[in-house]
């Protein structure tokens, strides 16, 4: 069985993924803020470096997989945190342990969101993240001037980070695969997690307007296990032919809202 590292494995989709991986006999290293194996704040460069250093110390022979689940919602009220954790926190860890993944021909799964297909992203921010991601502080300064208390602004920045993350994965997937490392993304629909449980009524109303066809007639969200099982699949050898793919795991929301997008 393999050795997997996961970010945000203490709750929500991440916690369920840890559970499923362990059930299959894998060893899992959880990087989070609490109830974890490596305590590190991935919103900061120092926290990211700490996590990378610890993983190298613990598993110098390599990793079979890296799963990036850490993130905050657009309703968190902190636009800089959305950018620094969701985007930079993810790509920094992937880049930082790429050498460990190469050693074992490992896999990587990043968590984006099905909202990337719904046209709500601030595309200028997404473009800046993809094209100028060596200038994190400048980008943080830019979003710090925006109104973080405005839910639609928060959502547009959140979607931008997830869009940029999916595009970053696509841009790197061919090179990674040529070096023996598969990288893919899952795009979950709205999931029952601590993140969604604490949302305001306005935010919940917006959630319910993203209907989940498999949950039709029930004002309910997806179960974390529905997402985690796909992450585990993408991380497994069963998915050895899958690379550079953004897999929507949203009960059909994307298909409902974008019937004409087949590619």
């Amino acid at each position: 069985m393999g050795v997997y590292a996961i970010t945000g494995g203490s709750s929500g989709i991440g916690a369920k993924t840890v559970e499923l991986l362990k059930k299959r006999g894998n060893q899992v290293v959880n990087i989070d803020l609490k109830k974890c194996d490596i305590q590190a704040n991935l919103a900061t460069p120092e926290g990211r470096q700490k996590a990378i250093d610890e993983l190298h110390r613990m598993h110098p022979d390599g990793l079979d997989g890296l799963i990036c689940s850490a993130g905050v919602s657009g309703a968190c009220g902190n636009l800089e945190l959305i950018i620094s954790l969701n985007f930079f926190g993810t790509i920094s860890i992937v880049k930082g342990v790429y050498d460990l993944l190469k050693k074992k021909g490992g896999t990587c799964v990043v968590t984006t969101s099905n909202t990337i297909s719904q046209g709500a992203a601030r595309m200028d921010i997404a473009d800046l993240l993809n094209n100028n991601n060596d200038d994190e502080q400048r980008l943080l300064n830019l979003v710090s001037r925006m109104d973080g208390t405005n839910l639609s602004v928060g959502n547009s920045i959140y979607v931008a980070t997830k869009y940029a993350l999916a595009r970053w994965m696509r841009r790197h997937s061919a090179s990674y695969a040529a070096n023996g490392v598969r990288i893919n993304a899952v795009a979950p629909g709205n999931v029952n997690t601590a993140m969604t449980a604490t949302m305001s009524s306005n935010a919940k109303s917006a959630l319910n307007a993203l209907p989940i066809p498999t949950k039709y007639g029930r004002e309910t969200l997806m179960d974390p296990e529905e997402i985690a099982s796909v992450i585990v699949f993408l991380s497994s050898d069963d998915a050895r032919g899958v690379n550079g793919n953004v897999m929507f795991v949203d009960g059909g929301t994307d298909a409902l809202l974008n019937t004409e997008k087949v590619y």
Partner: protein, 110 residues
Amino acid sequence: MKPIQQFIEVIENKDFAALGALFTPDGHYCDYCANGTAQHEYHLYGKEAIAMFFRNKFLFRQYSIMGAAVLDDRHAEFIASFGGYNIMAIVTLQQLSEDGHIKRLTVRPK
């Protein structure tokens, strides 16, 4: 009230549930106007899908109509706004079931 009038009324009121209920279980809603906007054509099959789809579009202000005029039992025209991009449109009830539900509806640029 005739089906074409009901259709206009529920769209104007942004009543997604009532909109879905106007259709047969496998009813088809086809809107070609979105080409040229930031959105894709609408091809929706089934009353549940129609209701779910428009719940999203209405709440996020991605679809609305104004200046509607019923032309006859099968046709009406209006200005459709796709997230602020306006198109003069004409709707046609192509097929109705015996009990008056919509089996196929098309919206095209006028």
